[in-house]
Amino acid sequence: MAAYLEQLVNGLVLGSIIGLIALGYTMVYGVIQLINFAHGEVFMVGAYASLACYLWILPPDLAGTWYIALPAMILFGSLVAALLAIAMERFAYRPLRGAPRLAPLITALGVSVFLQEVVRLFFPDAKQAKPYPTPFIEGGITVHLGDGQFTIAYIRILLVVVAIGLAALLQLYISRSRMGRAMRAIANDPDTARLMGINPDRIIVWTFVIGAVLAGVAGVFYGGYQNTINTDMGFQNGIFAFTAAVLGGIGSIRGAVVGAMIIGVVKTIAGQLPFLGGTQYDYVWIFVVLIFMLVFRPQGFFGETERVRA
């Protein structure tokens, strides 16, 4: 029993990472109906940038102090991710606005490959797993259940809280702030939004930046709890995050989080159950869930009502 509860917790932890990434997919799609398939790489670059900060920017005597190292790494990772997103939007996607949908999709693939290669310039052996420091408070909470017990590391608890907290803040931002209204206006009717004096370029860049910052945060936590990072992490988790966004109803903030939690839990629980094939087949079940969703409710959980396109 304790083992399953532990896997459930692990699922929520994985879901939190996926959810932070999924928010970027869903935001950009919600505002300009673009699936930014390079978004997973933004997450990967954020993780490597935070590692670079730890290795090369933070003075060694500060790098061991978690309450300095962690914020510094999150800040730097998110900053690099944001700058990357700005450049990506400006040079890869903006020239293609209004082009057929296939064009930005192919561009995204190109951007992904490009970014992986750029990271390899800085970390030549990046194909292999790269050790990632744990700039977090050590230890955790031990849960006793019947005759079993397990420990939930503080970093994992912090991750879940941060992910859900940021998603809630984002929801609030979109529904209440002036900028959030402008995003919804662009999503609804871009021409009329322009007649309100809204500069679409500015809103779209800002949408990319928000997604990138969340991906940067996810990158640091991912490294922190996996203890290694590699250049494939962006593709893999990007696919999970995209699936989560579709599952929840792309365009919906709440949907991205719920979809991500479902995927995290399905993956870890399926990995625990031998008759489902164990960890070798855990990916399969994610896509089984997705296929069921697409057949029976193609708009996802929150697809119709609660999207950025409100």
Partner: protein, 239 residues
């Protein structure tokens, strides 16, 4: 009398289709100026070009003497030219209040809420249902909201594209009364209408647009009396 807006030799094309050809007209501050003309004459195209949503093929548009025809739409709005577009184009899934807040998007002052309340005074039905989604309102109510939204940026020039479309005669009269009030309060209005009779009666100046060209120009009353206008737009037999 100062010229607020001047359109000179404007031509606009959609690909090979030339929708507006060599159109010129002037809007003086404090007036209501209308553009009338039948379906497909090019009226909406002219307004969209003034707002910066379309680029002219030839000609120029001057606002207070400054060329604006190469500026992006958000800059044009920032200079004080608001448009209430054809078909209202409300943000249907947002509330009345959010639509009005979007109208005030470029403003940074703290008088926005007071101006929203003014719109509610002007159109009480909007105030009573301020938290309802705009898409749930009737056509006339939506038109009020669309006008209110365009007023929220405190425009120097308000452009209205067929505000009477789909409205009952009573509602149309209310909208036109409101337009006259706005002019009396100092807003300059460029009005596009199919309802030529009501528009001309209200207008200080009017232009007839036909097949993308300006064909006639005069005061509202002159055009109301013009036999060609009466024949073409008011459905009378030519004497």
């Amino acid at each position: 009398m100062s010229e607020l807006l001047e359109v000179r030799g404007l031509s606009v094309a959609y690909g090979a289709i030339e929708a507006v050809r060599d159109v010129s007209f002037t809007v003086h501050a404090g007036q209501i100026v209308s553009l009338i003309g039948s379906n497909g004459a090019g009226k909406t195209t002219i307004l969209r070009t003034i707002s910066g949503l379309l680029r002219p093929k030839a000609g120029e548009i001057l606002f207070q003497g400054t060329p604006i025809h190469a500026l992006p739409a958000h800059t044009v709005l920032g200079m004080g030219i608001a448009q209430c577009p054809e078909g209202r184009r409300l943000f249907a899934r947002m509330t009345v209040e959010e639509n009005l807040q979007l109208g005030a998007y470029v403003r940074r002052d703290d008088g926005i809420q007071a101006d929203i309340d003014k719109v509610y005074d002007l159109f009480p039905v909007l105030g009573e249902r301020r938290h309802n989604k705009a898409g749930l309102f009737s056509g006339g109510e939506q038109q009020m909201l669309a006008i209110g939204r365009a007023l929220m940026c405190k425009p120097r020039l308000l452009m209205l594209d067929e505000p009477s479309m789909g409205l009952s005669p009573i509602m149309t009269q209310r909208i036109f009364d409101t337009v006259a009030e706005l002019r009396d309060l100092g807003t300059t209005v460029l009005l596009v209408e199919q309802n030529a009779l009501a528009a001309l009666a209200l207008s200080d100046q009017a232009y007839v647009i036909d097949l993308g060209r300006t064909t006639l120009h005069g005061t509202g009353h002159e055009l109301l009396a013009d036999s060609r206008v009466r024949a073409a737009y008011l459905g009378e037999e030519v004497a």
